[in-house]
C-alpha cells in the first residue's frame, strides 16, 4: 500500500513540474482559454464517477455518482466547446496588400 502511494506521489510531483514549465510557456493572450481548457480537463474526474457507477450500488451512492457524471459532463462538453469558440476568434492580421505597409515609427 505504502509503495503505491510513493509511486503516485512521484507521478504527482513530476507532473507538477511539467505543468509549471508548460504553463509558463503559455502566451498571456491565451490565459482565458487556458483557464477554460484546464477546467475541461480537470473534469477527467468523471472517470472516478464512472468506475463507481459500474457495479450495482446502494441507491444513495449511485445517485451521487450519476449527479457527478452529469456535472462533469457539463464541464467537459461546455469547457472544450467554449475554448474552441474562443480560440477560433484569434485571428492574425490579414497579410498587407501593399508592400509599403509596416511603417516605421
Amino acid at each position: 500500500m505504502e509503495s503505491i502511494f510513493i509511486q503516485q506521489l512521484s507521478i504527482f510531483v513530476l507532473a507538477i513540474f511539467i505543468g509549471y514549465f508548460v504553463v509558463w510557456s503559455v502566451t498571456p493572450a491565451l490565459h482565458t482559454p487556458l483557464m477554460s481548457v484546464t477546467n475541461a480537463i480537470s473534469s477527467v474526474i468523471i472517470v472516478g464517477a464512472l468506475i463507481a457507477a459500474g457495479p450495482e450500488l446502494g441507491s444513495l451512492s449511485k445517485t451521487l455518482v450519476l449527479v457527478a457524471i452529469a456535472l462533469a459532463g457539463v464541464n467537459i462538453f461546455g469547457g472544450f466547446a467554449v475554448t474552441q469558440r474562443m480560440l477560433s476568434m484569434y485571428r492574425k492580421k490579414p497579410a498587407p496588400k501593399d508592400p509599403k505597409a509596416g511603417r516605421a515609427e
Binding site: H31, T38, V44, A52, V65, V74, G78, Y90
Partner: protein
C-alpha cells in the same frame, strides 16, 4: 483477462495524460492552440472510453443519460455565453469540478470496495481515508468559493467586500478544525468501516470556509480569486486521483493545480500585492475607500467632445489603445475595433496595450478584442509595448484607470505604489474615456486626469467611441 483490462486502462490513462499536456502546450501560440484543444478532447475521449469499456461496468443506460443531460447543458451554455461573461462561466465551471470531487469522494467513502481501497476485512485504508477527506475538503472549498465568486462576477451579489469581525480567527479555527477532523478520520475505526458522521462534518466545515474565504474579497481582485480557484479545482482532482489510485487524475490535477497557481502568481505580481494580502481580503470593492490625494479634484481638467477626439486621432501617426474592464462593461469592444479600422484607413498605426490585470480574469481583454475581430498581432502585453508610449501620438484609454496611474511609480504612500503600469502619460496626448473623475477600485485618484496632455472624454465607453467614429467620417 482482468489483468489485461487493468493494464490497458492504465496505458490509456497515460496516453490521455500526455494528450492533456500537449493541449496546454498548444496554448503557447494562437496558431497551435486549436490543435491543442483537439488533443485535449481526444485525451478526454480516450480516458472516458477506456473506463467505460471496463467489464465491470453495467449501467450504460444511466451513465448515458447523465452524460447526455450534462453534456447537452454544457454545449448550449458554451454556444450562448457572451464573451464578456466568461469570468462568471469559468467560476461556475470551477464550482462544478469542486462539487463533482465531493460527490466522487462521498461515493468512495460509502462504497469503498468498488474502488479497491479496502483491506481483507473490508475496512478503508487509512491512507485512502486521508486522501478522500482531503479531496472532498478541497473540492468543497472550491465549490462554495466558486459559487461566491460567480455571484460577485455575475452581479447577483455586490462586489463589495463583506468583512466579518474576527474573520481571520474564524478562518484559522475552521481551517485547523478541518485538519484535525481529517486526522481523527484517519485513525477512527468507525470511519474505516464507512460509518460515522466525521466525513460529513469535514465536508460541511469545508463548504463553510470556502464561503468565508471569498466573501471578503472585492470584485476587482477577482482575477486572483478565479485563478486560485482554478488551482484548487486541480488539487481537488489530484486528491481524488490519489484516493482512486488513478494516474490520469493525479497528472491532470497536478497540471491544473500548477496552472492556476502560476496564474495567481502572475496576477498578484501585476498588482504588486502579495498573495496573502489578496486572500486576507477587504480590498477592491465597488465602493472605494477613502481616496488618497482627493484634494487633486480641485485642479482644472481639460475636457473634450467626441469630435475633438476624432480630430486628434485622425491627425495622429501612431495610436495605442488601452482597454480595461470598463470597455467590457459597456460592451464597447466592437465599437473600439471599428474606430481602429477607420483610423487605419486614415493611415494611422494602431496597436493595443493590455495590462495583465485588465478585466476580471487573466487574458479577459484579449478574448474580448479577439471577439471583436482585432488581429492578435496588434495586441501587446505590458512589457512588450510600454517602451512604445513615448513615440505614440495618442494613448486612447477606454475603461481602464488604475493600470495607467503614474502614482504607482512615484507616490510611495499610494496603495498601488509599485504596481507595474502602462506609461500612457508618456504619449503626446492621452485621451481618457471615462464616466466621471471618480477614482478606480483602489480608491486612488488618478493624477493623469489633471495633466496638460490629457483630455477627458466623459461618457459611456461605447457611446463615446461611436461618437468618435461619426466624427471620423
Amino acid at each position: 483477462m482482468n489483468d489485461f483490462f487493468v493494464n490497458a486502462t492504465a496505458l490509456a490513462y497515460l496516453v490521455a495524460a500526455v494528450l492533456f499536456i500537449l493541449a496546454l502546450r498548444g496554448l503557447s501560440s494562437p496558431e497551435s492552440s486549436r490543435q491543442g484543444n483537439f488533443m485535449g478532447m481526444l485525451g478526454m475521449l480516450i480516458a472516458v472510453v477506456a473506463t467505460v469499456l471496463s467489464p465491470d461496468l453495467i449501467s450504460y443506460l444511466e451513465i448515458g443519460i447523465a452524460l447526455a443531460v450534462g453534456g447537452g447543458i454544457g454545449l448550449v451554455i458554451a454556444r450562448r455565453i457572451p464573451m464578456t461573461a466568461m469570468p462568471q462561466l469559468v467560476a461556475a465551471f470551477h464550482s462544478l469540478v469542486g462539487l463533482a470531487a465531493v460527490l466522487v469522494a462521498a461515493a468512495a467513502f460509502l462504497e469503498p470496495m468498488n474502488f479497491g481501497i479496502t483491506d481483507a476485512a473490508g475496512n478503508i485504508f487509512a491512507v485512502s481515508r486521508v486522501e478522500m477527506a482531503l479531496g472532498a475538503a478541497i473540492g468543497a472549498i472550491t465549490f462554495s468559493g466558486s459559487v461566491i465568486a460567480w455571484a460577485k462576477l455575475q452581479g447577483t451579489m455586490s462586489g463589495t467586500p463583506i468583512i466579518l469581525p474576527l474573520r481571520h480567527l474564524i478562518n484559522l479555527v475552521l481551517g485547523l478544525g478541518i485538519l484535525g477532523l481529517i486526522g481523527v478520520f484517519a485513525i477512527s475505526e468507525v470511519a474505516a468501516t464507512g460509518g460515522g458522521d466525521l466525513f460529513w462534518y469535514i465536508i460541511a466545515a469545508s463548504f463553510t470556509i470556502g464561503f468565508l474565504l471569498i466573501i471578503p474579497i472585492g470584485g476587482a481582485d477577482m482575477p486572483v480569486v478565479i485563478s486560485m480557484l482554478n488551482s484548487y479545482s486541480g488539487w481537488a482532482a489530484a486528491g481524488i486521483g490519489f484516493t482512486l489510485q488513478n494516474s490520469a487524475l493525479i497528472v491532470t490535477g497536478a497540471l491544473v493545480g500548477s496552472s492556476g497557481a502560476i496564474l495567481s502568481y502572475i496576477m498578484c505580481k501585476a498588482m504588486n500585492r502579495s498573495f496573502f494580502s489578496v486572500i486576507a481580503g477587504g480590498f477592491g470593492g465597488d465602493a472605494a475607500g477613502p481616496a488618497t490625494g482627493a484634494g487633486a479634484s480641485d485642479k482644472p481638467v481639460k475636457q473634450g467632445s467626441a469630435d475633438d477626439a476624432a480630430f486628434i486621432l485622425k491627425n495622429a501617426g501612431k495610436v495605442i489603445i488601452v482597454p480595461g474592464y470598463g470597455m467590457a462593461v459597456a460592451q464597447a469592444q466592437h465599437a473600439v475595433r471599428e474606430m481602429a479600422d477607420m483610423l487605419k484607413k486614415h493611415g494611422v498605426d494602431v496597436s493595443y496595450a493590455i495590462h495583465p490585470v485588465a478585466g476580471r480574469m487573466p487574458g479577459h481583454m484579449n478574448v474580448l478584442l479577439a471577439e471583436a475581430n482585432v488581429p492578435y498581432d496588434e495586441v501587446f502585453e505590458l512589457e512588450d509595448i510600454n517602451n512604445q508610449f513615448p513615440t505614440a501620438d495618442v494613448a486612447f484609454v477606454v475603461g481602464a484607470n488604475d493600470v495607467t496611474n503614474p502614482a504607482a511609480k512615484t507616490d510611495t504612500a499610494s496603495p498601488i505604489y509599485g504596481m507595474p503600469i502602462l506609461d500612457v502619460e508618456k504619449a503626446q496626448t492621452v485621451l481618457f474615456v471615462k464616466r466621471s473623475l471618480s477614482p478606480g477600485y483602489a480608491g486612488v485618484a488618478n493624477e493623469l486626469f489633471f495633466r496638460d496632455n490629457t483630455m477627458m472624454l466623459f461618457g459611456d465607453a461605447k457611446k463615446m467611441t461611436e461618437g468618435i467614429i461619426k466624427g471620423l467620417d
